[in-house]
């Protein structure tokens, strides 16, 4: 009996401890928030169609970009690949029956839902206008919106991240099938492992920072207020100590997805597998030491800024290793451009642009000019949307047959990938130019000369929205009418493909023997026609 048929009541879903069902619960949760956050983004782009602002007041505009940021970062991106694909795949990929703490896993989802509900409550009460960064003193002394409630929601959501990370770390350490050494693990597992370490070590700092901001707002404790001996820069240090590693929480899992898809459709072993694993660890560790690059113009000392700038450049080294190795994997291989591959290749290209523009921003003299402009907005959207969301959709397509037992319609899959790639670039590339021309971020209106670029960006957002809506239509269609997938429709390596699709509740009838190697694709053997 497969996991989808093992209990058909709502109760069986809401009390499940099966990692695969919990992954589906997370998928439902983050999809819900993705559409709320996306709706806010569409309103933002609508507003910016005309220089004077098309639809909403300045105050509402501030609330729109705040709710977009808060929801997309904490309620969509951070749980997206880890909590959905990670939950579903890690036990399957390491040949385990479940994660180490199945009940804790379910609890994580309930905590996530509770946190999300608190954020929604703040939204319904009237929203919050501080931006997702909650900078003091605005958030603690001046904003008259629902700062404390929103922060409470983020605080609660953080515990679901921590517990998920904890679960994954213990799972990978203790539940690998006999003989499955660390260097036989798929890079997806490596990436999720490194992500989990960041989740566990960075999220608590966000939690205590939120406690301090709420205390400061409600009782004026003064820790961020110079009038009482405190310092607003202390807030920025604490906040970015979490929020910069959080970028790697969002992008490392995406790298893991790309590292599964690319070798499969290139029929070639990942180039430099060990170096890829080490690069993941290097990004995760050095990523903890670069937070000050968010504060170059905030009054940080020049010496500190130079060190943070140099360390930020250092992160580019393992990131470049990854990009080069994905490319080298493609070299002289027989590539097939199925939908997951289109997403994965899109990810590599867009991540490269996002990463290189990150180097612009890590350079002190350029950052003084570009900080707080649309250049920054475009840069991190290339990483988070062009990178993470692209890879998330690639992963959804790649493992959809495994999770549901049905194939998605290939032509539609490719069409949606093309829409997303085209729409994304049309939305965000003009924003690089806007930033270079001096358009600051977070403004509800702008001078007339920027209108052409803003209209291009808004038009791109429409194409992007179509690209995101299409998969939901054809995925739903495929549940009933999709072709039966079989165990391994793409001829992929990896233990998850050796069990049925959809997998049985306990994943494997008998313990899967550890494979001799990892990504052992035979370039001469033809791929099954999908």
């Amino acid at each position: 009996m497969n996991y989808l048929e093992d209990g058909l009541t709502l109760r069986s879903w809401f009390t499940t401890t099966d990692h695969k069902r919990i992954a589906i619960l997370y998928a439902a949760g983050i999809t819900f928030f993705f559409f709320i956050g996306g709706f806010a983004a569409m309103l933002i782009r609508l507003q910016l169609l005309t220089p004077g602002g098309a639809i909403v007041s300045h105050e509402t505009y501030n609330k729109l970009f705040t709710v977009h940021g808060v929801i997309m970062v904490w309620l969509f991106l951070i749980p997206s690949i880890p909590a959905v694909l990670g939950n579903f795949l890690i036990p399957l990929m390491i040949g385990a029956h479940d994660v180490a703490f199945p009940r804790l896993n379910l609890l994580s989802w309930y905590i996530y839902v509770t946190g999300g509900a608190i954020v929604l409550l703040a939204l319904l009460l009237g929203g919050v206008d501080t931006g997702w960064t909650f900078y003091t003193p605005f958030s603690t002394m001046f904003s008259n919106t629902w700062v404390a409630i929103t922060l409470a929601g983020v605080f609660v959501t953080g515990f679901s991240s921590i517990l998920t990370g904890l679960n994954f770390i213990v799972t990978v350490h203790t539940l690998r099938t006999p003989g499955l050494g660390w260097f036989k693990l798929p890079l997806f597992v490596w990436a999720l492992y490194a992500t989990s370490v960041i989740l566990v070590l960075a999220t608590p700092v966000l939690a205590i920072t939120i406690v301090l901001v709420i205390a400061e707002r409600l009782f004026q404790i003064g820790v961020f207020d110079p009038a009482h001996g405190g310092d607003p820069l202390l807030f920025q240090h604490l906040f970015w100590f979490y929020s910069h590693p959080a970028v790697y929480i969002m992008v490392l899992p995406a790298m893991g997805v790309a590292s599964e898809i690319i070798p499969c459709f290139a029929r070639q072993r990942v180039f430099g597998y060990r170096l890829m694993a080490y690069a993941i660890l290097a990004i995760a560790s050095v990523g903890f030491l670069v937070w000050g690059h968010h504060m170059f113009v905030a009054g940080q000392s020049l010496a500190a800024s130079m060190v943070f700038s140099a360390l930020s450049f250092l992160v580019a080294v393992p990131s470049a290793i990854k990009v080069f190795n994905w490319t080298a994997t493609l070299y002289k291989s027989s590539i097939r451009f199925d939908a997951p591959m289109l997403y994965a290749l899109g990810f590599v290209g867009l991540f490269t642009i996002g990463g290189l523009t990150g180097l612009f921003l890590a350079s002190l003299p350029l950052d003084v000019d570009l900080t707080d402009t649309y250049f920054v907005v475009a840069h991190f959207h290339y990483i988070m949307v062009g990178g993470s969301v692209m890879a998330y959709f690639g992963g959804l397509h790649f493992w959809w047959p495994k999770a549901t037992g049905r194939m998605y319609p290939e032509v539609w899959g490719r069409l949606a990938a093309a829409f997303i790639f085209f729409g994304f670039n049309l939305t965000f590339f003009p924003q690089f130019i806007l930033g270079m021309l001096g358009m600051p971020r977070r403004y509800a209106t702008y001078p007339d000369r920027f209108q052409v670029l803003h209209v291009m960006s808004s038009a791109g957002a429409v194409a992007l929205a179509v690209g995101y809506l299409l998969p939901f239509a054809y995925f739903a269609w495929s549940l009933r009418s999709g072709r039966a997938a079989g165990r391994n429709p793409f001829g992929a390596t990896g233990l998850e493909w050796q069990t049925d699709s959809p997998p049985p509740t306990h994943n494997f009838d008998r313990p899967p023997p550890a494979p001799a190697g990892v990504y052992e694709y035979d370039p001469n053997a033809p791929q099954p026609a999908a």
Binding site: D98, P102, L212, F219, V223
Partner: protein, 215 residues
């Protein structure tokens, strides 16, 4: 290899006691404590910031904490940690196991004693106008910040300890009733948490009570 010799324990059962690989729970607790270190780390950083910028204010404020109560409480917590370590040791072998619930009750009692003393201390401080609000007793810049951090850090520590007292009491009750899930592995995991709360206090005690007492 056949399925019967499958060395990986099904986690569905692993979580319910018998036969669980002990490292699962222990590793989980260690990872959680890693999270906790960073959680308290944010407060420590704020303290470090304040003391670096306002050494005079922090020293003056530090002299107003009740060092005797703090010292006795340190002794109380250290003793409780020894007791829970003994409880863990006795739970491992049968003839000693009858001592486990008693030692756990005693651990919880010491934890509770700490909280009571802390409450008395809080009460004294409120009467001495050391809760930072209108009419705060000290005028040095930074003293107010010191006491906000003092209240915040000790309150969050006390919250952790209260959770610990609850969990230890639960285990004391369960080991007394010889519930199978309250085995020595779980007691060890619980003890890790308890020791951690103790260690946090070992850091708070000098930071809050002992700076500048020598002069």
């Amino acid at each position: 290899m056949n399925a019967d010799s499958y060395p990986i324990v099904d986690p569905r059962h692993a979580n319910r006691g018998a036969g669980a690989p002990p490292e699962i729970g222990k590793l989980g607790m260690w990872v959680f404590l890693g999270t906790e270190v960073l959680f308290f780390g944010g407060l420590m950083l704020s303290y470090l910031y304040g003391r670096t910028h306002w050494p005079g204010g922090f020293a003056a404020a530090g002299r107003h904490t009740h060092v005797w109560i703090g010292t006795i409480n340190t002794a109380v917590l250290l003793t409780s940690s020894a007791l829970i370590a003994l409880a863990g040791a006795t739970s491992e072998c049968m003839p000693m196991r009858r001592w486990t619930p008693r030692l756990l009750w005693l651990t919880a009692l010491f934890g509770l004693g700490f909280l009571v003393l802390k409450g008395i201390e809080y009460d004294k401080e409120v009467h001495e106008q050391l809760f930072p609000q209108a009419g705060f007793a000290l005028s040095e810049t930074g003293a107010e910040l010191f006491f906000w951090l003092y209240w915040l850090m000790t309150a969050i520590h006390a919250l952790h300890l209260a959770i610990g007292v609850g969990a230890v009491s639960l285990f004391a009750w369960a080991t007394g009733r010889q519930r199978r899930w309250a085995d020595s592995h779980r007691i060890e995991v619980l003890a890790l948490y308890w020791h951690f709360v103790d260690v946090v206090w070992i850091f708070l005690y000098p930071l809050l009570y002992l700076i500048d007492r020598h002069s």
